[in-house]
């Protein structure tokens, strides 16, 4: 598959306490292919969210470059859309108007953007809630709206920052399954940040294991299992154990 996104030698440092610089990410090299589902897995504080934010254009790398289809990107890009963990829907807007937000920013007129938004509302299975407000929805429903909103601008790449982290286990599993269905239908490229080995193995074509500070790629695990995957299957358990070993072996190098 043609390569979509290339991270070349990406680094990120923050000014720390006093004069000490904190290196959050160190020389990240990663190539993501078109239509691939890649998870970035690591413990809290390993820089995975920072990495995603840099890709999304919300933060700037202090070293290295990002190439999308060969072109350098340095800021937010319409071919990428990000889905946050929580508090992301606009409470003063109805569900349909939340989904249509990106289209509104593009200048699409009301009737047209609502019709288009409705398609994505159908995709996530919430047609009865078009006129509802976010506070009327459960956590899982809100995240589905967030997914619909991101898809509505028809991006090439979906960036997801632990999108199901704030949900209970059952809802989480259900949404993981639904996400895969949507992914298979729409063939987007997905970069999915998580600290759950289980989630990463269930969802991804490839799991990128990140170390703790400074964040570097320890390993990349390709997963060839057909989907939908059985969480309780033997192969799944084997891969899961393999990945877990790699995550656990990463040295905890924080100097606190």
């Amino acid at each position: 598959m043609p390569v979509t996104l290339v991270l070349k030698d990406l680094s990120k440092s923050f000014a720390g306490e006093g004069k000490a610089e904190v290196e959050a990410l160190s020389h990240i090299n990663l190539e993501v292919s078109d239509g691939e589902f890649v998870s970035i897995l690591g413990p809290s504080g390993c820089g995975k969210t920072t990495l995603l934010r840099i890709i999304a254009g919300l933060d700037h790398a202090t070293g290295g470059t990002i190439l999308l289809d060969g072109n350098k990107i340095e800021g937010p890009c319409p071919r990428m859309a990000m889905i946050f963990q929580e508090y992301s829907l606009y409470p003063w807007r109805t569900v349909i108007d939340n989904i249509a937000f990106g289209l509104e920013m593009k200048g699409m007129e009301k009737q047209k953007r609502r019709e288009m938004a409705f398609q994505f509302l159908e995709l996530v299975g919430l047609v009865d809630f078009a006129g509802s407000y976010p506070y009327e929805l459960s956590g899982g429903m809100r995240q589905r709206v967030a997914v619909a909103r991101a898809l509505a601008i028809e991006p090439q790449i979906l960036l997801m920052d632990e999108p199901f982290g704030a949900l209970d286990a059952q809802t989480r599993n259900m949404l993981q399954k639904e996400l895969l269905e949507i992914w298979q239908k729409t063939r987007k490229t997905v970069i999915f940040v998580t600290h759950s080995v289980d989630e990463a193995v269930y969802l991804s074509d490839r799991v990128v294991v990140l170390t703790a500070r400074p964040g570097t790629i320890k390993d990349m695990v390709h997963i060839d299992l057909p989907r939908p995957r059985e969480r309780t299957g033997a192969e799944f358990a084997r891969i899961r154990r393999y990945v877990l070993d790699h995550v656990e072996k990463t040295p905890f190098s924080s100097k606190v």
């Binding site: 999304a56 919300l58 937010p76 990000m82 937000f101 976010p134």
Partner: protein, 254 residues
């Protein structure tokens, strides 16, 4: 429980009547029979010692407050938005605001007279001072309370700076700004009474009360106070109604 709210006012009215009977001095505690007729004829100029009808006076006071309040809102909201968005501007203005805020609006009266002489401008200025700070501080607060995630979502969905302001910051801050307007108006309304005691004023509810005092007509003072209270209540009710209709999402966001 629904009618509990009427209990105390009714008791107070009864208590007042009893007191007026006991004290038996219309200057100190006028009886209700002398107060009620004034309230029952709000359009008649005969009950207000030649200052115009109660309604006329009320409208004049409302106009003055409205003007001062509007100027305060037009000045405070933009400044508040800028301060809320820019840490630099916030720090720049903050100390001055904290210094001026505790000065009661009435303390500005002598200065207002020195600057603007007798007239409408002085009154509007006092009311402006009263309404300005609550509106400003609530606007700053409201803008600061706009969640970072909301802003980042907008950025990643392609919103430009101006769109972020109009489609995210303003709607997000609106409930808090509205609270500021409501509180600001309440204070402005209280200021108008005192502001109308300035020399050179010849109409208005605040003026009416003072005028009534000079003629020993305490019943008119009470009637005037009742009207002031009722108008304040009604306007606050309007503010609350808008809040319920448009901003009930606030505090429920997750």
């Amino acid at each position: 429980m629904r009618y509990l709210r009427f209990l105390l006012p009714i008791l107070l009215v009864i208590g007042w009547e009893v007191a007026s009977w006991v004290v038996n001095n219309p200057f100190i505690v006028p009886s209700l029979e002398t107060v009620i007729p004034i309230l029952l004829h709000p359009f008649s100029p005969e009950y207000t010692l030649g200052t115009g009808s109660m309604v006329e006076n009320a409208l004049i006071s409302i106009q003055r407050v409205g003007l001062g309040f509007l100027v305060a809102a037009v000045v405070a909201i933009p400044i508040g938005i800028l301060m809320g968005r820019s840490a630099f501007l916030n720090d720049f203005f903050d100390s001055t605001i904290e210094l001026l805020r505790p000065i009661p609006p009435l303390a500005w009266v002598p200065l207002a007279l020195a600057w603007f002489k007798i007239g409408l401008t002085s009154i509007v200025f006092i009311i402006f001072i009263g309404a300005f700070f609550p509106i400003l501080l609530n606007t700053v607060d409201g803008v600061k309370s706009v969640k970072k995630t909301w802003l980042e979502v907008a950025t990643t969905l392609g919103a430009k700076e101006q769109q972020i302001m109009t489609k995210v910051v303003l709607p997000g801050a609106a409930p808090t700004i509205w609270t500021g307007l409501r509180v600001g108006f309440g204070i402005a309304w209280m200021c108008v009474v005192a502001a109308e005691w300035l020399p050179g004023i010849s109409q208005g509810l605040g003026y009416l009360i003072l005028y009534a005092y000079n003629f020993g007509q305490t019943n008119l003072i009470i009637a005037g106070m009742v009207v002031i209270g009722v108008i304040g209540l009604l306007i606050d009710f309007v503010f609350k109604h808008v809040e319920k209709r448009w901003f009930s999402w606030r505090g429920l966001e997750r």
